[in-house]
Amino acid sequence: MTVHASRKARAVCAALLTFGTVAAAAVGCSSSGSSAAASSSASGGGTYTFWDPYPQYNNTSDWAKLIESCGTKAGVTVKRTGFDTTALTTQALLAAQQGKAPDILLVDNPVVSTLAKAGALTTTATNGLATGSVAQNILGAGVIDGSTYGVPIGANTLALYYNPKILAQAHVDPASITDWASLTAALAKVKAIGKTGITFSGINTEEGSFQFLPWFWGAGANLTNLDSSQAVAALTLWTTWLKDGYAPNSVIQDTQTTAWQEFQTGNVAFAENGTWQKAGAAAMGAKVIEIPAENGGAAPVPTGGEFFTIPVQKDTSRYATSVKIVSCLSATSNIVKTDNTLNYIAPTKAGQQAQLSGDSSLSDWVSAVGVAKARTGDNLGTKYPVISQQMWTAVQKAESGAATPAAALAAAQSAATAALNK
């Protein structure tokens, strides 16, 4: 063979090899993917997968140890992976798409309806998970079209934290705050002494809707009718607070965390925030009251918190063991320990009693959770995200002065209707 010819042959070989490597890599990827799927769905395997949105807990944490011990009790090894909460929805959908869903998935409650609609989750009727002792209003987020798709790990919700020092200076008695009028009057007194009245999160994300809901529901409004006079009243309350300088302008952009940081400066009298700030509030001497409804009484507040769900598997015999693990994790003694760590309120009466006997200061939160409502409840399911997006847009428009509350909510209602009818 000539030098030229051999050089060409080498070049062709090299090029084909490169091409082959790419192709082989592609094939390799897909074949390794399918073998992983096969092994994860193989029945009788000793390893069960568990995904949760708590990446902050490593393998030496109590949470990880609890999962491990529940796995051991069920006779299997549990492989836990913690994801960021926003990444978890996408991860769960992708895994379901590729038939590689985890055996147990702990997911934020409004996502349950999305995953259930995608057909990624089994119902408790199919998997055999008991829901009997769970409070109905907390379980609501997991009920879609009459079927239940999981059990809550616990619940958190919103209430009104207050700074007793500022209220004392402004001569406001927290017990006098029973409705919107008395709250607004208190804010005026606080402003008069040069302090900021209230902070909340009015941002254009789900957090904004979550924070607006107690006022929306507290006025008697319904999510299926965004432009009702009650809804307008709720949004007018927020915009008036902004216009009158009772709330800082930054609430339009504040997340719940940044709103809380403002409250922690010690210059703000009230903060609408969640159960998870309990420890920080205690450290700064802040107290809590329930969010008042427009005409008195406690306003219904939205529930937060995750649900244990059991995603669809090719091998349905795995469900029985998954149920054993979930039942162990949600057993009263275990769930109380977990909920205390997560700053959640237990979803069962027995659990709540156990929490109260350990810490009586939780009583306000237990009663707040008692009147809480699931965002996806009222059989809204996957309609909720569509409505919520329009609601936070309307809140933003009104807060920033781009539109009046009535006009913003009317536009939101027509946009939501159009999106739902698409």
Binding site: A15, A118, N204, E206, Q253, Y384, S400, A402
Partner: protein
């Protein structure tokens, strides 16, 4: 045997073969026939294809296929159910019709146009002015030029968060400065009138170094004697800029503007960090809207998001074609 074949054979013969081993040479000329020309050509073509293959595969896998998928996604109704079942019914242009009819489309398109053209205009003008300034090479100019590159070196997350803090209504340094001057507070990020201006200011600041670097290197390539000749002929500073610098920088300017256009059209991070496209839709661009549709709520709407994304691609392609035409015309002249 033709002369052509013998020529091919002699060309393929190793140099000095005969002198080293005459017997071997004789055997080779009698032995198996050399490949005919057609076969040689074919193997050359194979070699060419072999070399091309990795690029073609790469382009196909990472460019053509995602683009095809994006187009396919936009003409189907792809819901979360389709995600798992893989079943997304064909809906034709329904998604495009719905995004064009959406109340967000007009503000998003207008905001995108304002954001892109105002950003590029300021970035280019300031970048060019700084490039001309630094071209004079004075003491410490290297250090100063390096300082101007800082915005480019910072992660966008850091720059945008810092701007967000500085422009905060109640506790931002910008408002503190305005109030010290006796001016009233501006709600940079929370007012529908100012939010687009706020993200524009940040984006212009971030884009100046890119323009400065490219225009500066463009200036370096202009021969100094052209300026000297102009100076001898009595051209003023302005005349030298408008009649020498600017025309000679035209090819560099064109590519800078095109790249700037594409970069700015797809800007997402700065706006998302600073305003999330709000309040309401006052700083929502097409890129932000596309993200909001697919990942902004608990229920992703991938098909509409893909449709918005395709509109962005079409806009970018139109401007790229304009650039190519302009370049051809420039080369022709």
């Amino acid at each position: 045997m033709t002369t052509e074949q013998s020529r091919t054979r002699s060309a393929g013969r190793p140099r000095g073969g005969q002198s080293r081993d005459g017997a071997a040479e004789a055997a080779s000329s009698r032995g198996p026939r050399r490949p005919p020309r057609a076969r040689v050509l074919r193997s050359t073509q194979w070699a060419a294809w072999g070399f091309l293959a990795p690029v073609v595969v790469y382009l196909g896998l990472f460019y053509a296929y995602p683009l095809y998928r994006n187009v396919d996604l936009s003409i189907r109704s792809y819901t979360v159910t389709s995600f798992v079942s893989g079943n997304a019914p064909f809906t034709g242009f329904a998604n495009y019709r719905s995004i064009f009819a959406s109340s967000t489309f007009a503000p998003a398109l207008l905001n995108t146009a304002i954001f892109v053209f105002v950003s590029i205009g300021f970035q280019f003008a300031i970048g060019l002015a700084l490039a001309v300034f630094f071209h004079r090479n004075f003491r410490l100019s290297g250090l100063l030029r390096a300082l101007f590159l800082v915005p480019w070196l910072l992660p966008l997350l850091v720059s945008a968060s810092t701007w967000s803090w500085m422009l905060n209504s109640d506790s931002g340094i910008v408002n503190a400065f305005l109030q010290a001057l006796g001016l009233s507070q501006i709600n940079w990020l929370t007012s529908p009138t100012w939010s687009l201006t706020a993200v524009l200011i940040a984006n212009i600041w971030i884009g100046i170094p890119f323009n400065l670097v490219i225009m500066y290197s463009g200036l370096q390539s202009i021969p100094g004697d052209v300026f000297e000749a102009a100076a001898i002929d009595g051209a003023s500073g302005w005349q030298r800029f408008w009649r020498i610098t600017f025309p000679l920088l035209r090819p560099v300017s064109a590519i800078t503007l095109l790249l700037g256009f594409v970069y700015t059209l797809k800007v997402f991070d700065i706006i998302w960090i600073m305003t999330k496209g709000g309040p309401a839709t006052s700083s929502t661009t097409l890129a932000i809207w596309s993200y909001q549709l697919s990942f902004g709520s608990l229920l992703p709407d991938f098909s509409s998001a893909a449709a918005v994304g395709n509109v962005l691609i079409i806009i970018a392609v139109i401007f790229a074609l304009v650039y190519v035409r302009a370049r051809h015309r420039l080369e022709a002249t």
